[in-house]
Amino acid sequence: MTADSYEDVAVGKNDPIPALEVQPQDLYHAKSFWTRWIFCQDAKVIGIQYAITAVSIGLVAMVLSWMMRLQLSFPELVPFLGPADYYQFVTMHGMIMVIYLLTALFLGGFGNYLIPLMVGARDMVFPYVNMVSFWVYLLAVLVLVSSFFVPGGPTGAGWTLYPPQAITSGTPGGDGLGIVLMLISLSIFVVGFTMGGLNYVITILQARTRGMTLMRMPLTVWGIFTATVLALFAFPALIVSCIMMTLDSLLGTSFFMPAIVEFGVQSEHSGGSPILFQHLFWFFGHPEVYIVALPAFGIVSDLISVHARKNIFGYRMMVWAIVIIGALSFIVWAHHMYVSGMNPWFGFFFATTTLIIAVPTALKVYNWVITLWRGNIRLTTPMLFALAFIVTFVNGGITGLFLGNVIVDVPLSDTYFVVAHFHMVMGIAPVLVVFGAIYHWFPLITGRYLHEGMGKFHFWVTFLGSYLIYFPMHYLGFVGVPRRYYEMYESPYITASTISLNQFITIAALAVGFTQLLFLYNIITSAKLGKKAERNPWGACSLEWQTADVPATHGNFGKELPVVYRWAYDFSVPGAKEDFIPQNVPPSEVPDAEVEKT
């Protein structure tokens, strides 16, 4: 990139844009299959690598959930599944879905693919470190998967890995390599994420193109940026607790292990604090919810704006809300610990902060709805998923208000109500955004559309099916059905009606699960045979659709980087020829466009 590349760029006689001095960025262009697809330094390829790995391990977790559901409802179909297997599956399903699928997919997948494109950069600022971050992530996944094949199997401690249970011999995988491999895998994941996270933050802060101020960035970038900052601050708590627990397990230290009697034998541990682990874990664990949710908020804001042909309502409020939610997420962690026996005043404080976080969150929901108001709504598949996200997130969020209150949380703790709540708010809602985002950006990645008919079918079965699964689960929780039970047979607490409801949930879960296979089929076939997409098929304003080639090649924007003249939401501007004005269109090209009111 030379300094005089922008000399001829001007918006009018009185409004010249001076030449920009852009330091040329050394890009290691691929020269062979290996450097193109395996050890590639192009953020877009790395994003796809992240996505494929995350989805692959996510499919494993989905199959584990099928096994669990079958055991609960039709145990005769899975006679090979013992109690230890069940707890191992619960643990692995939870950890894989939260960390190795959702976190990796939103930040590693969408972050890598979209950040450089949306901010107008040629690539991440540290491409080599970025490439290594993926390989470290892959190593973390392989270490985790390897725990299925060691004596004793993977850990069955539950995804929260609470000590002392996690490393005592009565717990599946507790006295073998299972728990150790889980802890090592998590530590490796954090190392890999730190490499990637540094890239995302520095690229957004320092490598934006000319004219791309922070307040002109699409909300997708704001969401990923804030989530990455959260992760960089929260993950140290996870890695610290993992290392300490590994030492407790392997070397007999007592960071988290109190003096306990294990199978009639006094253990060698003494003086450790299991509650300390809970604090460390949830200091990471609650921001983790927003590490997943904030990118979803950003993406859904962009999807709604593009497919409703309206500028996002309250852009500044949306940015503030993202930042405030991120900040507040660090002072709510102990609402996960109301039943740990902590001081009631502590519970009062965390209940208050938990309810406060609902304010900026609700503000975002209002803004999405107002954006839709009088919009030219196109019910495309991405839009359907975005709308479904709003409904689902509100549903999941409202049950969060229940659980945020100590008095309500205590009786509901460890029931299916909790399972339903977090699956709605942290499982289904973000996954709906993932699907919407894939349908939206698939033409950017491949130059082809996903099949719309299959997409709509996929949407309706996933959306309605999810409600068939999780709405009844709330009821099960209210009537007291406990979570994490291996068997459901008739008892004073588990009545015949709840057993049949459980069976209904399982059938719905299998249907929703199999529909995801149709989605994978759609991706595979459409990548080669799908209908060819024109440039910028949805009429979006953001820069990712303004690349020199579609799909974009390494370096993204050809010879010259784009210059940004406007925010990413100039939709339906009165006086403009089209109902969108891309960010890199200078005012001189749309002289009749009026100023938007927002």
Binding site: F126, M212, M215, V240, P587
Partner: protein, 60 residues
């Protein structure tokens, strides 16, 4: 955007406002007056400091 601008001033900007647009058009893209490498190292140090803080809190 001025590089000395605070976070609250930044978040108060109206990116759709023509007056703001003229200022924004001149923006060079970077946010902080540091090289990418130096800023990356600083962010990394903050993460590590945070990491050490947890151990320090536990030990003392």
């Amino acid at each position: 955007m001025s590089k000395k601008e605070g976070i609250f001033q930044l978040l108060a900007q109206k990116p759709w406002d023509p007056a703001q647009a003229k200022i924004d058009d001149m923006h060079e893209g970077g946010t902080i007056n540091l090289s990418k490498g130096k800023l990356g190292l600083q962010v990394y140090y903050v993460c590590q400091y945070n990491f050490l803080l947890f151990i320090y809190c536990y030990l003392f």
